[in-house]
């Protein structure tokens, strides 16, 4: 577990460093994820070692958004007089985006014969 945590933190650290030094728009942890993927591809045996810890964290991924969510409650007032308009735009656009994204995926999968097996 300690080794996996160390690798996860090292990947995040390297990702943060790369994002800052190179001025990338992508956040450090996302770059860290790609580094971690590179490590897993290079050393497939590492996957078995990392699995319990990584899956333990991912199984409780929802929990990690709770502190930020509580922070948002205090800032609901920053939506100001446009609150209703912004909320309508946000909910409707999310519905449309999920429908468009899934629809486009299924359509192209059918056209290219990229079935799942």
């Amino acid at each position: 577990m300690i080794h996996t945590l160390l690798v996860l933190l090292a990947c995040q650290l390297a990702g943060e460093a790369a994002a800052r030094l190179l001025g990338l728009a992508v956040p450090g942890p996302v770059i860290g994820m790609l580094l971690m993927l590179g490590i897993l591809v290079a050393l497939p045996r590492f996957a078995a070692l990392a699995r319990p810890t990584a899956e333990g964290i991912l199984a409780n991924l929802s929990l990690l958004f709770v502190p930020a969510g509580v922070g948002v409650v205090g800032h609901i007032s920053t939506l100001g007089t446009q609150a209703v308009a912004l909320l309508v735009a946000l909910v409707v656009s999310t519905v449309l985006a999920i429908a468009a994204g899934a629809g486009a995926f299924v359509l192209v999968a059918r056209l290219t014969g990229a079935g799942d097996d």
Binding site: L37, L87, I98, A100
Partner: protein, 238 residues
């Protein structure tokens, strides 16, 4: 009574109580979700946030004090994002075979999210800073905030809109995709990750492991795509 007051002020100033309450509220949220028969609108994050906001309000506790304890949970978001590499690795073969559908789903989802949000808000009279804050809301929080700053938005407002978008996506995804009769877990996951980042991804993992892996991929890809798409969309409306 004064003992109790002293004890409260001791506890409420330290991180222990707020960390424990964060886990307790989440456990309560999860219990509600299970008790409802896993109804998507009884969202675990939403219930936990509501409980904690209520506790902070009743006890007159500032968010800063609360975050002293909650930061230990919040901090794990970084390592959790890195951990998403594991499900990606497990599904690498399927991802390679689905490269074209993934690209199509990403472009359609990302462009629709930004363009429809800005168009609807514009139509309802939203202008300027608020409109710029809305454009990147489907990307994961740090990316969205960075983009908002560059295109003239307000970072705090963007943070609020990002979290609300995540919750909206997590709540609507399952009933919406069922109604559309989309059964491909890859398509469902990718679309949810693109439209509603980590909160949507967390929800996808609750539903199906394949959906979770593709949601993580969608979130990561949209972090990059939004950086290009949001400024373009906004330029159409300014």
């Amino acid at each position: 009574m004064t003992d109790l007051t002293a004890f409260w002020s001791y506890l409420s100033e330290g991180p222990l109580l707020w960390l424990a309450l964060t886990l307790l509220a989440y456990a309560a949220g999860d219990a509600c979700f299970r008790a409802s028969g896993r109804k998507p609108y009884v969202n675990t994050v939403l219930v936990a946030v509501a409980i904690l906001a209520m506790i902070l309000w009743v006890t007159g506790t500032s968010y800063g004090t609360y975050f002293e304890g909650a930061q230990f949970v919040h901090f794990l978001l970084g390592p959790a994002t890195v951990s998403l590499a594991l499900p990606l690795f497990d599904n690498l073969g399927r991802l390679r075979r689905a490269a074209l559908p993934v690209a199509a789903g990403l472009l359609a989802g990302s462009a629709t999210a930004a363009a429809s949000a800005v168009a609807i808000a514009w139509g309802l009279g939203v202008r300027g800073e608020a409109l710029a804050s809305l454009a990147p809301k489907s990307a994961t929080a740090p990316v969205a905030i960075g983009i908002a700053e560059r295109i003239g938005g307000a970072p705090t407002l963007t943070a609020v809109l990002v979290i609300l978008t995540g919750i909206a996506g997590a709540v609507v995804a399952t009933p919406l995709l069922n109604a559309l009769r989309i059964r491909d877990w890859r398509a469902r996951g990718l679309a949810v990750g693109v439209a509603s980042h980590g909160i949507g991804t967390a929800r996808a993992f609750q539903v199906n492991p394949t959906a979770g892996a593709f949601a993580g991929l969608g979130m990561a890809l949209n972090a990059v795509a939004t950086a290009f798409i949001a400024p373009l969309v906004l330029a159409l409306f300014l």
